[in-house]
């Protein structure tokens, strides 16, 4: 409908028109999103944590994280000098928490990007070639990853790969792409049947052209909301793996802080200042991602509002 107004100007190429349309769609979507209170609260909280993650190294010098250079009295309760107390090395828990934001968000985002790349590729290929042998194989693979208990699979992979930050990211990505692939496949299947795709094919468009110009733009809204929700799950997954001792021992993520407190007997000795803050940070961030994801889903996929 809106294209009609734009095509009035003679100099516009189809690509220009498409971009104008996308810019306008973006503006409308943003206006809708802003009306969603949950989504906005989530966004503000996330922006805050992102700022902490980016500014982390400026605020907290590396020496504050070095166990041998710690200056505080080990395991002291919160005080003026140490607002969240100290850990068993005498490091400030607040400093650990600030630098943990960087690691936890990094793992969350990186693992999600990995999962989305695998999920979108498998989903688009499976859906676009729906009904063929490619689809059968990819769909079986997707279903297998959906069925197998993720944590047990993650543990098996992580013990074999060894504990490093990259491996943790790989393990989470490999174990969490399947639901995305299924979602994308369903969307790609419906796009494939639309008249304009048929028309493009009749005009001689190849698979690559149809996938890039027709399937991907239609899959994107579903994928985007799903991405945001997956970051939340990835951060939770990293926490779980860390608590089980499968995280990178040199990178202080929020999960790793919890694990260290747990191993040091924080439960029986009552070092609550060491255990509770990292958990609260995780809850705040995952909850925000989840709220943003739901809000995005409502904006981008009004027809799919199932949850």
């Amino acid at each position: 409908m809106r294209e009609a107004q734009v095509t009035g100007a003679a100099a516009l190429t189809p690509r220009r028109i498409a971009w104008t349309r996308r810019r306008r769609a973006l503006a409308t979507h943003w206006a809708t999103y802003r009306r969603n209170r949950q989504g906005m609260v989530g966004l503000v909280v996330l922006a805050l944590f992102l700022l902490i993650a980016v500014l982390g190294p400026v605020v907290v010098p590396a020496s504050a994280l070095d166990p041998s250079a710690a200056e505080g009295v080990p395991l002291s309760a919160p005080s003026v000098g140490y607002p969240l107390g100290t850990d068993n090395f005498g490091r400030s828990v607040l400093a650990l928490l600030v630098s943990g934001a960087r690691i936890s968000l990094l793992v969350g985002f990186a693992a999600t990007i990995g999962a989305m790349l695998i999920g979108a590729t498998v989903g688009v290929a499976s859906g676009y070639f729906g009904g063929t042998r490619i689809d059968t194989v990819l769909n079986a693979l997707t279903n297998w990853f959906l069925v197998v208990p993720w944590l047990v699979l993650a543990i098996a992979l992580a013990t074999i790969l060894g504990a490093s930050l990259l491996n943790v990211i790989v393990v989470i990505a490999v174990t969490s792409w399947a639901s995305t692939a299924r979602l994308v496949r369903a969307q790609a299947l419906t796009v494939r049947e639309r008249t304009y795709v048929e028309r493009a094919r009749a005009l001689g468009a190849g698979h690559a052209h149809v996938i890039v110009t027709h399937v991907l733009p239609n899959v994107f809204p579903v994928l985007f909301a799903n991405t945001v929700l997956t970051v939340a799950l990835s951060i939770l997954s990293e926490t779980t793996l860390s608590i089980l001792g499968l995280g990178d021992t040199t990178a202080v993520s929020w999960g790793r802080i919890i694990e260290q407190a747990f191993s040091a007997g924080a439960l029986t000795a009552g070092y609550w200042w060491w255990l509770i803050p990292p958990g609260l940070a995780i809850v705040a961030v995952t909850l925000s991602f989840t709220m943003c994801g739901y809000a995005l889903d409502e904006v981008l996929n009004p027809k799919l509002r199932e949850r």
Binding site: A140, N143, W144, V147, V148, P149, W150, L151, V152, L153, I155, A156, L157, T159, I160, G162, A232, L236, T239, T240, I243, L244, G245, L246, G255, I258, F262, A266, L267, T268, G270, W272, L275, I276, P278, G279, I282, V283, T286, L287, T290, M291, E306, R307
Partner: protein
């Protein structure tokens, strides 16, 4: 009509999935850093005899394809190799840890389903009420909590500060009969509560949204139009239909609950499969980890098959699809 074909198809699918797990398990074991023989030799608990037995058991001196066929045959006859730390058969080790986990996962699932369905139904039926909004936010917060951390909080408060429940373990020991049952139940409360809280949110959200969907269906309108009281509309017409998706979710989320059990058992030192897994991770006891992976995958696949069959029975429409 298509009932038998439906059952056969689903069963074949389950067998194929299980076979893929076996294959995956085999190759995972092969890509491990260091070959299996070197790994066995590193273990101090295994005598040269044990190692020779293990080698023969896995046919490690033969070509890869032979090894594969051999390993599948071994697995199917119930042999999963020896633990690197105790030198006992993995099958036996897992079996000895099975019951605490079955108890924990079983009671936890029942608890979270009952509460989740109740909360979801009540919230969905009175959409937008104070109860609905508060439970919806509550579900979201619970969903965002790392389960292990939630368990630690409960442990600090209810076992530490208040001292109402024991801090961990399966039982105190030395008790018999009814006293022992009470003691076991007492130890079960906190781990079970942690597990249930972690999953109650997803059940209530699914129940709520499927009830909202069903409420717009014609048969609910018809029931209302012919004057069926509100309470009965929910209990006889809307409720049972809305329960269907939740019913499948119970079986489908079994794999996740099992994952939750690993972390909960670790936090509460609850001696089930989960704690066994944690111990195996720390001692890098690969055969045990492989065994747990195999057994839990098999359990999940069986549960999924059961969910499919039950769903086909409850909702004849899916049989023909």
């Amino acid at each position: 009509m298509g009932a038998r074909r439906y059952v056969v198809r689903k069963a074949l699918h389950a067998v194929a999935t299980l076979f893929f797990v076996l294959t995956f398990n085999f190759f995972l074991f092969r890509v491990m850093p260091g070959d299996p023989i070197a790994l066995l030799a590193r273990s101090e608990r295994l005598s040269p005899d044990d190692i020779a037995r293990q080698q023969a058991e896995f046919g490690l001196d033969r070509p890869l394809l032979d090894q594969y066929i051999f390993s599948v045959r071994q697995t199917l006859t119930g042999s999963l190799g020896l633990s690197l730390t105790t030198a006992k058969p993995v099958t036996q080790t897992i079996a000895s840890r099975l019951w605490p986990t079955v108890l924990l996962v079983g009671v936890g699932t029942v608890l979270s389903v009952v509460v989740g369905v109740f909360v979801g139904t009540k919230g969905g039926w009175r959409r937008g009420s104070a109860f609905d909004t508060s439970t919806l936010y509550g579900s979201l917060v619970l969903y965002s909590m790392p389960e292990g951390w939630l368990g630690m909080l409960l442990l600090i408060v209810f076992a530490g500060t208040l001292g109402w429940f024991p801090a961990g373990g399966f039982e105190s020991g030395g008790l018999v009969g009814f006293d022992r049952a009470i003691d076991i139940a007492n130890h079960l409360v906190l781990p079970c509560l942690t597990l249930a809280l972690g999953y109650v949110g997803s059940y209530s959200i699914v129940m709520r949204s499927s009830l909202l969907e069903v409420m717009n269906e014609d048969f609910v309108q018809t029931a209302r139009a012919k004057g069926v009281p509100d309470r009965l509309v929910l209990r006889r017409h809307a409720g049972p239909n809305a329960f269907l998706p939740t019913f499948t979710l119970i079986f489908l989320s079994f794999g996740f609950v099992l994952g939750g059990a690993i972390i909960v058992e670790t936090v509460f030192s609850y001696p089930g499969i989960g704690l066994l897994t944690y111990e195996a991770i720390n001692s890098r006891d690969y055969p045990v980890i492989q065994g747990v992976f195999l057994v839990s995958s098999a359990a999940v696949i069986v549960f999924n098959l059961f969910a499919d069959l039950a769903y086909g029975y409850l909702d004849p429409r899916v049989r023909d699809a």
